[in-house]
């Protein structure tokens, strides 16, 4: 017992001293351990944040501050040949809403938030401005969605008006809208776009890739709460490239005249439709191409989709007697006949086991080729076709452009119908030679007559003059090749005969005259095939195609009136339309008058005089020609 306290006394100070040192050391070690652990935790967290989750956080950071704004490209305009705007784009206002603003919600903490607005009040405020039923708007505002359209592509001023209302959850977006300032002018040619700006019809669809341009992009950094962009942040701009403008060959004034005349023809003749094509003879550029009934692209939703079709290039019809000029041209080119060739006239002709006759038999014993064209004789034309034969007639028709698209550059162009000679049967040669059993588009017909007017040289017609890029320069459409179909002499002979078809005593196209100008052309009247049977229906197609002035042709106009009811002859239905359009076209193109043929009034006076003479009421004074009889 006694040894223990002594030892304790001896040991206590030593242990105390050791303990203090050890404790200090131990504490430091513990502290270092704690520090080490904290450091390890922090280091681990650092590794976790920087390495393991680094890409995710970096991505989240970018998402929070990076903003990417799409820069839509401005769609190119469509101009007529003089730079008048046919289609352009303007900024429109699109009204949208976030329906979440119209229903109660919860915060992330679970607190209930009342609806920011009253859907009924908002709908009633917007209904008169948007022209929509308030009930319909309210239904949209109460949908379970984050975004609904309330109105698209409205007038910008209306959008501003709605913005000033400050309705909760309702916003305005700028959106390009395609507009057609001239309304229905050239509607079937220009076509239209969808609500998102994609070309759907006509040249808008055909040249969609050219017109739409390339959208751009602006990337910048912005605080997560919005506001201005971070000035020192990254900013990447890829500007949009505006679409290329397309310049057409159309002349707005001629196009209007053609549309007006076609619409009048439909109304006057109670026809199903009417089409007009106007071509420049020297370039084969389409100056006008109209179809009635038409439509207004801005209100196409209320129109019949059948009116969207450009019938002048998509629909085919039998050319009827307008075909005879081509048959005669082929015969002259082959040296079988000339304009002055005199042959024995015939009342009928046998071909393919069938007898063909003229509606008005030739009164004399001998006739010239010019007489055949002037009187539009079936018999005389078939006689020439028999001399030509199947292969040569087919060859010339193909050379004139039948049986293949003209290549005018319009979508959906038809090839027409022209069978190969190997598929012809007995009556094919005579019928095709007078324009039956063959079908063409009005563009093909106009192109074939333009070839005759252009001294026998055919050029691929075109409707697009060129494109205008960002530099403002016109890049012309690549010129297409020319091909000679008939000789210049042959073309001149046919032209003079076609003039007789209008000015001659027995010409069928006297109503096609244009005051002050000499005019040449040919009427055509054809029955329409019955789609249900192999025969013909009771409906007709009246056509007229011609050019002026005769000596130096500048303009070709082709007219087709489908299913006229009151009258159906080309000379009485289509020829007046030709006269009206040709007069307007010659005036618009500033073609110098060449004196011309007798006027319509003169022709009508002569017709009345001849009628009276025939009735034995008066004697015909010398120098006055007889009436023009309407004929197929």
């Amino acid at each position: 017992m006694t040894g223990q306290p002594r030892r304790l006394r001896l040991l206590v100070p030593t242990r105390v001293r050791r303990s203090a040192r050890e404790v200090g050391t131990r504490r430091i070690r513990w502290l270092l351990l704690v520090y080490g652990l904290v450091f390890l935790v922090m280091f681990g967290q650092l590794i976790m944040v920087q390495v393991v989750q680094g890409p995710e956080y970096a991505d989240r950071s970018v998402r929070q501050r990076a903003r990417i704004v799409d820069l839509p490209a401005t769609r190119g305009r469509i101009y007529d040949r003089d730079g008048d705007v046919l289609a352009t784009s303007v900024q429109a206002a699109t009204v949208y809403a976030d329906p979440r603003a119209y229903r109660p919600s919860q915060t992330p903490d679970g607190d209930h938030l009342p609806a920011a607005g009253d859907s009924r009040a908002t709908a009633e405020a917007l209904a008169p401005l948007l022209g929509v039923e308030a009930g319909d708007l309210r239904e949209r505002l109460e949908r379970d969605a984050h975004f609904v359209y309330l109105g698209r592509q409205l007038d910008w001023e209306l959008g501003e008006q709605i913005r000033e209302l400050g309705l909760p959850g309702v916003g305005i977006l700028g959106e390009p809208r395609r507009v057609y300032p001239a309304g229905g002018l050239a509607a079937q040619i220009v076509g239209f776009t969808g609500i998102d700006g994609e070309g759907l019809q006509g040249l808008e669809a055909q040249f969609d890739a050219v017109l739409q341009g390339r959208p751009g992009m602006l990337a910048f950094e912005q605080a997560a709460t919005g506001g201005l962009g971070i000035a020192s942040g990254t900013r990447e701009l890829e500007p949009s490239e505006p679409g290329t403008d397309v310049v057409l060959t159309l002349d707005r004034d001629i196009q209007f005249a053609a549309q007006q005349a076609a619409a009048d023809a439909v109304a006057v003749n109670e026809a199903a439709s009417a089409s007009v094509v106007v071509l420049d003879v020297t370039t084969f550029e389409v100056l006008g191409m109209a179809t009635a009934p038409s439509f207004d692209p801005s209100q196409r939703g209320q129109s019949d989709p059948g009116t969207w079709r450009n019938r002048a290039v998509t629909d085919v019809f039998e050319p009827g007697s307008t075909q005879k000029a081509l048959t005669v041209a082929a015969a002259i080119e082959e040296g079988l006949v000339s304009a002055d060739t005199i042959t024995d006239s015939r009342a009928s002709i046998e071909a393919g086991g069938k007898t063909f006759r003229d509606q008005h038999p030739f009164p004399g014993d001998r006739w010239t080729t010019g007489d055949i064209v002037e009187r539009s004789s079936n018999v005389g034309t078939i006689e020439m076709a028999k001399q030509l034969g199947d292969d040569r007639l087919y060859h010339y028709l193909r050379e004139f452009g039948y049986g293949a698209p003209t290549g005018v550059g319009f979508p959906g162009e038809s090839s027409g119908l022209l069978m190969k000679p190997s598929d012809w049967w007995g009556t094919s040669l005579p019928t095709i030679s007078i324009g039956q059993g063959v079908a063409v588009t009005l563009m093909q017909l106009a192109s074939s007559y333009a070839t005759l007017a252009n001294d026998g040289v055919a050029i691929t017609p075109r409707i697009v003059r060129g494109t205008v890029g960002e530099d403002g320069r016109l890049t012309p459409t690549a010129s297409t090749g020319e091909r000679r179909v008939v000789s210049s002499d042959t073309a001149a002979q046919v032209r003079s005969m076609l003039e007789r078809a209008i000015t001659g005593e027995h010409g069928t196209g006297s109503r096609a005259v244009v005051s002050g100008y000499s005019v040449a052309g040919k009427t055509g009247t054809a029955r329409k095939p019955n789609p249900d049977t192999r025969g013909y229906s009771g409906e007709y197609v009246a056509t007229f195609v011609g050019f002026a002035p005769v000596e130096s042709p500048e303009i070709v106009v082709a007219v087709m009136v489908d299913e006229p009811q009151a009258d159906f002859y080309g000379g009485t239905v289509a020829a007046p339309v030709f006269s009206e359009v040709m007069g307007a076209a010659l005036s618009a193109r500033r073609v110098v008058p060449d004196g011309g043929s007798r006027g319509l009034d003169e022709a009508m006076d002569a017709a009345r005089l001849a009628g009276a003479e025939a009735a034995g009421m008066v004697d015909r004074p010398p120098g006055v020609r007889g009436p023009a009889e309407p004929r197929r």
Binding site: T74, R77, D84, V85, L86, T88, S89, V90, Q91, W156, G174, V179, P181, A182, G183, G184, L185, L228, G229, A231, S232, R252, D253, F256, V514, S515, G516, G583, L586, S587, V592, P593, D594, G595
Partner: protein, 144 residues
């Protein structure tokens, strides 16, 4: 090789001996001045950075305002182009003309001058000395 390296060592030793010199007391460093200078430089850098950032932000605001103006001007221009084209619509002009009581024109006529104007080189006196008809009153013809 060894014969070449030996002289170099001697040269180095001599050089070191030549560079031995008496060094004075270490120069007194002004720690406070150095610290103030560092603070000033850092402060200037911060101030400059903040100033530049503020300027950039201010210009960003101006740029945004200009972008808005340009966008609005482009919108107005596009709208005006469309409005002008609509006003030039032949159908609208025709309707307006009919409302004004105008009637559709007849067939076009072209006027040909049978005699040149003075600007075209016409003279007032003929070669025979006789006075020509007044060239300022050319004979107009519509015969063609």
């Amino acid at each position: 090789m060894s014969a070449l390296t030996a002289p170099r060592k001697r040269v180095l030793t001599e050089r070191r001996q030549h560079h031995l010199e008496v060094v004075g007391e270490p120069q007194k460093r002004h720690t406070l001045l150095f610290a103030l200078m560092i603070i000033a430089v850092l402060g200037g850098a911060v101030f400059g950075t903040v100033t530049l950032n503020a300027l950039a932000a201010a210009h960003a605001v101006q740029a945004r305002a200009l972008d808005t103006q340009v966008g609005e001007a482009e919108r107005v221009y596009a709208q005006l182009v469309a409005d002008v084209a609509a006003l030039e619509d032949p159908a609208r002009i025709r309707a307006a003309a009919l409302d004004l009581g105008l009637v559709p024109g007849g067939p076009g006529r072209h006027v040909h001058l049978d005699r040149n104007l003075p600007a075209d080189g016409a003279v007032t006196e003929l070669d025979n000395g006789r006075r020509a008809a007044d060239p300022l009153k050319p004979v107009l013809s519509v015969e063609r």
